[in-house]
């Protein structure tokens, strides 16, 4: 039995979730919004964000119930979620569910990537946004995608010594990206900072060195030199991957590692909607409009939902351009050595994973993907390195206290 029931439950309080919750509430539905994080805003609006605060005020005015620090770990019955909070566990009932679970960074293993102070690009930014002083710290930003630029800009604005930004994509791929930006003027601002820093294309980290923590990073340029730079932090992520675990648990169809949705953002399961990065990486504007469509659709207002289809098409086109420009180069598959850990939870080396023929065998024989992150970190790497798609998801989708499972 559910402890509390709502017409609409929204999982995730980033841009898509906030927009969805507000639109559903405007349709007169009772709405609860749950998020694992202590504050709303998701990853992109992390910290004291004006945008998140604006949406949050609107949500509060509309009577949206906000549950922070709450992670959904199971769907024990139809139209019911099991949620764990610091204080304990509760069951949430819903008529409609909107999944706005966002995305995470893709990490690729290379020698030294497990050293402390080697972090995700978003990972270092999150620490800095939470108050960690970075002024004067030597930072190398590496990997791929527009997030690198946003992170480098944030670091520079807070007086970090950003040594360089290493983007694995080629200049040719990015030039096409830059030209097409003209059709999307709102994005131009972001691209301008391409020139403002030491931005090296066709460049990637091949190893990190240090005793107990990071001391230097070795970088390589395609067809060129390999060299080592001293630094305090390496902020490194190779693009984003959708968080689809909860959708998979609920039986929603996945397509190319994304949650499949119809034009109303409804998944293959009736009454379960998905919006934002979980349905494919597309950025802020696309997440907002998808959230609005899902909110209106879950609220029963098909006309309002339909009026936003055009805007969504435009933003999806931009997402496709991005995806192409920042495609990962095959050389990155050679980054890990046989003795490099692929699974950081269970310390499983590439050689051991490669000795298996599929995910299932690797899990059973090596425990790869069986630790606390449940394959969320190594999954994206293994998919890229070996072409294995992760299999079915089982509850609990996040480690939960034993008491919560009883």
């Amino acid at each position: 039995m559910a402890d509390r029931g709502f017409d609409v439950v929204v999982v995730g309080a980033g841009p898509a979730g906030l927009a969805a919750a507000c639109r559903a509430a405007e349709c007169g539905r009772s709405v609860a919004m749950v998020d694992d994080n202590p504050l709303p805003g998701g990853q992109i609006w992390r910290g004291a964000s004006k945008e998140a605060a604006g949406w949050m005020r609107r949500a509060e005015r509309l009577g949206v119930e906000w549950m922070s620090g709450a992670r959904v770990f199971d769907a024990p019955e139809s139209q019911e979620l099991a949620v764990e909070m610091f204080e304990g566990e509760c069951r949430l009932g819903y008529q409609s569910l909107i999944l706005a679970t966002g995305a995470r960074e893709r990490f690729l293993p290379f020698p030294g990537w497990t050293l402390p102070n080697v972090m995700g690009a978003g990972g270092l930014q999150a620490l800095a946004k939470s108050g960690m002083p970075i002024a004067g710290k030597r930072v190398i930003v590496a990997g791929s995608g527009p997030l690198l630029l946003a992170v480098a800009r944030y670091m520079k604005a807070h007086d970090a010594d950003v040594r360089l930004i290493a983007e694995q994509a080629s200049k040719a791929a990015l030039a096409g990206f830059g030209l097409r930006l003209i059709r999307h003027p709102g994005k131009l601002l972001q691209a301008v900072s391409l020139r403002a820093a030491r931005y090296l294309t066709s460049c990637w980290p091949v190893s990190a060195q240090g005793h107990e923590k990071l001391e230097s990073v070795t970088l390589r340029r395609a067809g060129g030199r390999t060299w080592t730079e001293a630094c305090d932090y390496l902020a490194c992520g190779f693009g984003l991957i959708p968080n689809v675990e909860l959708a998979a648990l609920l039986g929603c169809r996945l397509s190319q590692a994304r949650v499949y949705v119809d034009e109303f953002q409804e998944t293959s399961e009736a009454g379960i909607f998905a919006a934002g990065e979980a349905t494919g990486i597309g950025g802020l504007e696309l997440s907002l409009v998808e959230g609005e469509i899902a909110g209106y659709a879950a609220g029963g207002n098909a006309d309002r939902a339909g009026s936003l289809f055009g805007a969504r098409t435009k933003h999806r086109r931009f997402a496709a351009v991005l995806d192409q420009a920042f495609a990962l180069r095959p050389e990155l598959r050679d980054l890990p050595r046989p003795d490099t850990f692929v699974c950081r939870c269970e310390d499983v080396t590439l050689a051991r994973v490669q000795s298996c023929s599929n995910w299932r065998e690797a899990k059973l024989h090596t425990r790869c993907g069986m630790g606390p992150c449940q394959g969320r970190i190594c999954g994206g790497a293994v998919e890229f390195l070996l072409g294995w798609q992760s299999e079915s998801v089982r509850p609990p989708v996040f480690p939960a206290r034993v008491r919560s499972l009883l």
Binding site: N37, L39, G120, L127, I377
Partner: protein, 82 residues
């Protein structure tokens, strides 16, 4: 601006901005190894968003808390096993 918050990390007092996460307090205490991996390697935060579980610490006696998802409260006692 709200007042800063004081917590202890491995018995050492650290002052952090209001709203800071425990992961930030650990870093500000000069600790880079938040935990040891199953084979004994030092590990610290990776994803910063509650997914990787690398930043696990003990908070007020509760083990395996993801330090990047918990806001510092005055007097909190944080222990790392790195």
């Amino acid at each position: 601006m709200p007042d800063p918050v004081t917590v202890t990390v491995n018995g050492v007092m650290v002052e952090v901005p209001a709203g800071a996460m425990v992961s930030t307090a650990v870093a500000m205490a000069g600790v880079s190894a938040y935990r040891r991996s199953v084979s004994g390697e030092p590990r610290g935060p990776l994803c910063g968003m509650g997914i990787c579980f690398e930043c696990r610490v003990t908070i007020d006696g509760r083990a395996h808390c993801r330090s990047c998802q918990v806001v510092c409260r005055p007097g909190m006692e944080v222990r790392t096993d790195g």
